[in-house]
């Protein structure tokens, strides 16, 4: 029970942290007039200094790596234009993967959703990889489709149109997230009061990760195009190395997926280490059904929040 309370408290903490900064649209593009007063991070003072310092050092390192990778990749891209299948091609692919890994370590890319999902319900390692993989690939695939669509079919310019479509997709994604969340909440409530869903293992089905909800949530979150991927693809197009650009997107997606899956695995491990994994042999008490429900509520509220605060 103590661990369940911890789970609930941390889910709520995570939720409140997340609501503080959900900006995603390009600030360079025209948007609704809204004067923004610069504000310092609202929760930073609540964190111990060593957490802030360590986080700052990690972020600084990640930023530097990303800038260096992008700079090197730019050089290889130009070499590919001269010699399409030379060593630069594989270097470009390798750096795209590496960039994906490092890029996804920063904020965003659905880590909050995979963490919430796997912290609040029991899952398997394969499911963690599946969700991380799906989210990463959807995120890049969405950018790929939009860039190619606007560039070749609409011929309406590159990033400006992609960014506009991305804003619309963000709101649609938020609505989808909320819907998936509602579905999970409904299942959670049903499981709390109705023993019919009890599975063979003795646990209620709602406290387990399942392919349908996992896929739906991955699609809902991942459909928002990754601006970083769109910029890299557009850069490749501007150099007239379309094939290399498209293949680089596959490697980039693999890199993003790798990191997102890692977070999913960590969430699985954290849950197991906290003792939730030991409840298989007997029917879990009422309390053990609360984290999945709380997780589902968090996902729903986040979706609603994002829907009404499209940024």
């Amino acid at each position: 029970m103590k661990r369940t309370v911890f789970s609930l408290v941390f889910l709520l903490v995570m939720f409140s942290l997340t609501l503080q900064s959900v900006h995603s649209a390009s600030p360079f593009r025209p948007g609704p007039a809204q004067k923004e007063e610069p504000v310092s991070s609202g929760v930073s003072h609540l964190l111990p200094a060593w957490v802030r310092d360590t986080g700052g050092q990690v972020m600084g390192r990640l930023l530097l790596w990303q800038a260096q990778i992008r700079q090197k990749a730019g050089g290889y891209a130009r070499e590919i234009r001269e010699n399409p299948w030379g060593s630069a091609f594989w270097s470009y692919m390798g750096l795209a993967f590496l960039y994906g890994v490092v890029h996804a370590f920063g904020p965003g890319h659905g880590k909050v959703f995979v963490s919430t999902y796997f912290l609040s319900r029991k899952g398997r390692v394969a499911q963690a990889f599946l969700m991380g993989g799906l989210m990463g690939f959807f995120h890049v695939f969405s950018a790929l489709v939009l860039v190619l669509f606007f560039y070749f079919i609409m011929k309406s310019g590159g990033m400006a149109s992609v960014d506009g479509a991305g804003r619309s997709l963000q709101q649609f994604s938020a609505a989808m997230i909320a819907l998936v969340g509602f579905f999970l909440v409904w299942r959670g409530i049903k499981a709390l009061f109705d023993g019919e869903e009890q599975g063979a293992s003795g646990c209620l089905a709602s406290s387990h990760a399942d392919t349908r909800s996992l896929f739906s949530l991955s699609l809902a979150v991942g459909m928002v195009p990754c601006p970083g991927a769109a910029l890299i693809l557009f850069f490749s197009l501007s150099l007239d190395i379309l094939l290399a650009g498209v293949l680089a997107m596959v490697f980039l997606a693999a890199g993003l997926s790798f990191t997102t899956s890692l977070f999913a695995l960590l969430a699985l491990f954290a849950r197991k280490a906290m003792g939730h994994g030991r409840s298989e042999k007997r029917r879990p008490p009422f309390w053990h059904q609360l984290p999945p429900l709380a997780g589902a509520v968090c996902i729903t509220l986040l979706g609603i929040f994002l829907f009404f605060n499209p940024l």
Partner: protein, 208 residues
């Protein structure tokens, strides 16, 4: 039995640490992280009475630059004529007014309002788009010296601006003034859960 319990407790503690770590790191902005990198340079402009404004020069990474060049240098002459510049301004810069042009100027702990910018220009150099613009400000310097801070950063973290530059540029009536500057970390302006500390340029202007 005691050892087993101890082990379980240890695992639980470890789990909690992981849990907290995931919460903190994974709960950042949902879809935002730096997608654009900018090297920001700054020149202060001196007049008869003190500081009159600040010129900024932003060198964008080649990915963002590719978009600007491809989409807005329509005649592909490597330059932005007046008509092209107007479109670049409207499509890629004007909205930054809502973000204070990523610029924060502080004097005695108070933020000086940035009412607008002037002289927006874009040039292309070695595949990089470089935006230049002037931020007017009025800082009268009496008999003593005056000091102010300038920080350039994007709180939303969509882009990361490398600031301050190694060297501060000085323009205008340079013969009338002595200028000193040094970088200063600004933990009070920390963003992204306090993980990102902007580094401001602390500028002192005085009579020689």
């Amino acid at each position: 039995m005691g050892k087993k319990k101890q082990k379980e407790r240890g695992l639980s503690g470890l789990g909690l640490i992981f849990f907290l770590g995931i919460m903190l790191w994974g709960s950042g902005p949902l879809f935002a992280h730096p997608h654009v990198f900018v090297q920001a340079g700054v020149d202060i402009v001196l007049g008869e009475e003190g500081v009159e404004g600040v010129w900024q020069h932003w060198v964008f990474d080649e990915y963002f630059s590719a978009w600007v060049i491809e989409d807005f240098d329509l005649n592909k002459d490597g330059q932005f004529c007046e008509a092209e510049l107007k479109v670049v301004y409207e499509e890629t810069f004007r909205n930054l007014e809502n973000h204070g042009f990523f610029t924060r100027i502080l004097k005695n702990g108070k933020t000086l309002p940035i009412t607008g910018i002037e002289g927006f220009a874009v040039e292309i150099r070695e595949g990089h788009a470089i935006y230049s613009f002037y931020v007017p400000m009025k800082l009268l310097v009496g008999s003593e010296k005056e000091s102010f801070l300038i920080a350039v950063y994007d709180e939303d973290f969509y882009c990361h601006l490398f600031f301050p530059p190694e060297k501060l540029g000085v323009k205008g009536k340079t013969e009338l003034w002595r200028v000193e500057s040094r970088p200063r970390e600004m933990p009070e302006l920390a963003y992204y859960f306090g993980f990102m500390n902007p580094v401001a340029l602390e500028i002192h202007v005085m009579r020689p």
